[in-house]
Symmetry: C2
Subunit: 207 residues, 2 copies
């Protein structure tokens, strides 16, 4: 039975990393001694090691260990035997490229569908959608495919921002971009405003 | 001799389409009776016909005719015989996909390098860079490649926005995104603020 949290972001303005999710995460990871962390999205280009260290420090406060997926010699086996999974935010193109090139996207999907608790934030949530085509990220690398896990029958747009009626900037609003997506695609899109998340329990999806 | 204008945008806030470029464009297209317009970026999903009609109305005021590239049975021949070219803004992924799939990216590049006056705005400017990997657009379609014309030895970021120090939103700033690009790529990036453009004359590149 699927058991996942897909969150808009890791950090609310002025708060500590994952602070707004603390209560939720304590319940979610109650039975868990160790999380396998997927650091591939590398926010700001941070190294896998440094990113994992940051996450480790936060989960240590909850008494939960963290191992980075990059630390395993065999990442397929690591995903298959993980007791809990967390994919952090960063660049979705980078994350998706890495998961596809290492043959891990389908392995990750299978693990999550089998019921391994999965937490995603930002880019890590985007990959829970049907494809990554409603990301806000810059295409800094070229992934072999835009397909993602499809844990939910829709796409996600993390950090969703309502249109600002006072803006004098001519870049498209988020709403305009998603409407453009819908000219060429039928997949519904759920915008996740900062501080919101989607909870998946089996076939039940709630916010 | 290359002769191009790569502009940040088509329209400044509160102004008419191309108004801020009028003086520049009158000089740039002085000798030109007809422009071939590339409407593939389809802003807001607008049709090729409607987009071309919008552009035609503006150039009519300058006494210049406009034909949409989609109107030609043979777009390769159309690009090869065009006296002037304009690629409008919209979605860069859509534009680049279409140009590659129709085999037109290299044909367009050759025409511009031969000296056919080329105007790009927004997505139409992005394709003047080495690749489209510093676009702000949403990946609503999957292009077979991110390579673009490389009229200049750098990438462009249209609608460049300076970081807003008062922002409480946790989406990355433009600067952060471009820095992430540079973790994985050596290509320099020129941010084009609204209302600015790059002028290319042969080997001379100025703003």
């Amino acid at each position: 039975m699927k058991n996942s949290i897909l969150a808009s972001t890791s950090t609310l303005f002025g708060e500590e990393y994952l602070a707004y999710l603390q209560t939720e995460l304590k319940a979610f990871f109650k039975e868990v001694a160790e999380i396998v962390f997927i650091p591939y999205a590398r926010p700001g280009g941070i190294s896998h090691e440094a990113y994992t260290q940051k996450v480790r420090a936060v989960f240590a406060q909850m008494g939960i260990g963290v191992k980075g997926l990059h630390e395993f010699e065999n990442p397929v086996a690591a995903l298959n035997s993980a007791k809990a999974l967390f994919t952090g935010g960063g660049n979705t193109f980078l994350l998706v490229k890495q998961l596809h090139e290492l043959g891990l996207m389908s392995v990750l999907k299978a693990a999550v569908e089998k019921g391994v608790p999965y937490l995603g934030t930002s880019a890590g949530s985007n990959i829970g959608g049907v494809n990554m085509q409603t990301t806000n990220d810059m295409p800094i690398v070229y992934p072999p495919s835009f397909e993602t896990m499809g844990l939910v029958p829709f796409n996600l747009n993390a950090h969703y921002l309502d249109p600002d009626p006072s803006s004098t900037h001519n870049g498209e609003t988020r709403e305009t971009r998603i409407k453009e997506f819908h000219v060429f695609n039928d997949i519904p899109v759920v915008g996740l405003r900062e501080g919101s998340w989607i909870r998946i329990k089996g076939t039940e999806i709630s916010t």
